[in-house]
Amino acid sequence: MKFAIQINEGPYQHQASDSAYLFTKTALEKGHEIFRVFFYHDGVNNGTRLTTPPQDDRHVVNRWAELGEKYDLDLVVCVAAAQRRGIVDDGEAERNGKDATNIHPRFRISGLGQLVEAAIQSERLMVFGD
């Protein structure tokens, strides 16, 4: 089956990203397809490469990136939500005159149309959050 994944909560504060990660990983291992993973609301905070959890804990951002690398996943951070919360890539830094970027290179920032398109193109949209 072809899935789209939406994650509405940030890492560590909330388990939504962990549940989505485990669901996505298992679905891929069982041969299903993940059309796109879309990070919305505080979920955009799952895409910052500056995250530094304690060494004995899971690294939520890096393990998304590693899963993305292994399966060539499209990990998309919502631009409108990202701008509010200070998640920045090169393009956003230039457009908004910021002196730094923090997006993990395995993620990309794009518009809400990517979420709607994912829902249209997939057989199931899975929403993770409260």
Partner: protein, 136 residues
């Protein structure tokens, strides 16, 4: 995948202020309208407060985005379901809600009500009939 039109339902479950879910849900609805799908919105639980009329956010210094709901008809978003039990549990009636309208171009732009109050049972049936359910 087929390019057939899908039935999209946006579930609005939270109060308009206090968290950003309601406002960012509305942003998805507005963007999603460009994709020409069969869109409905449902307001339930504290989500019914999102479309209460006369909202004034001055004292909490938050942007009052409630006027945006009145523009939904222009985006061809014309089906707004409100759960009857959620209204009743909060002491609200349809008279407490904004008078949201849309213009039917097939009937000489006749103004029609966008809001339809449905029971919890009916809303479950509506949810069952959807292809995509966004939950906010």
């Amino acid at each position: 995948m087929s390019e057939a039109i899908k039935k999209f339902l946006y579930l609005n479950r939270r109060a308009p202020y206090g968290t950003i879910y309601a406002w960012e849900s509305l942003e998805v609805v507005l963007i999603g309208a460009a994709f020409d799908q069969d869109v409905s919105l449902a307001f339930l639980d504290d989500g019914v407060y999102q479309i209460v009329k006369g909202q004034d956010t001055a004292a909490i210094e938050m942007k009052n985005f409630s006027p945006t709901y009145a523009a939904l008809g222009d985006y061809d978003v014309t089906k707004l379901y409100v759960e009857k039990e959620s209204l009743e549990e909060r002491g609200l009636t349809i008279d407490d809600l904004m008078d949201l309208k849309w213009e039917d171009e097939d009937e000489d732009w006749a103004e029609k009500d966008s809001i339809k109050v449905v029971s919890r049972f009916e809303l479950a049936r509506i949810m069952e009939g959807q292809d995509v359910v966004f939950s906010f």
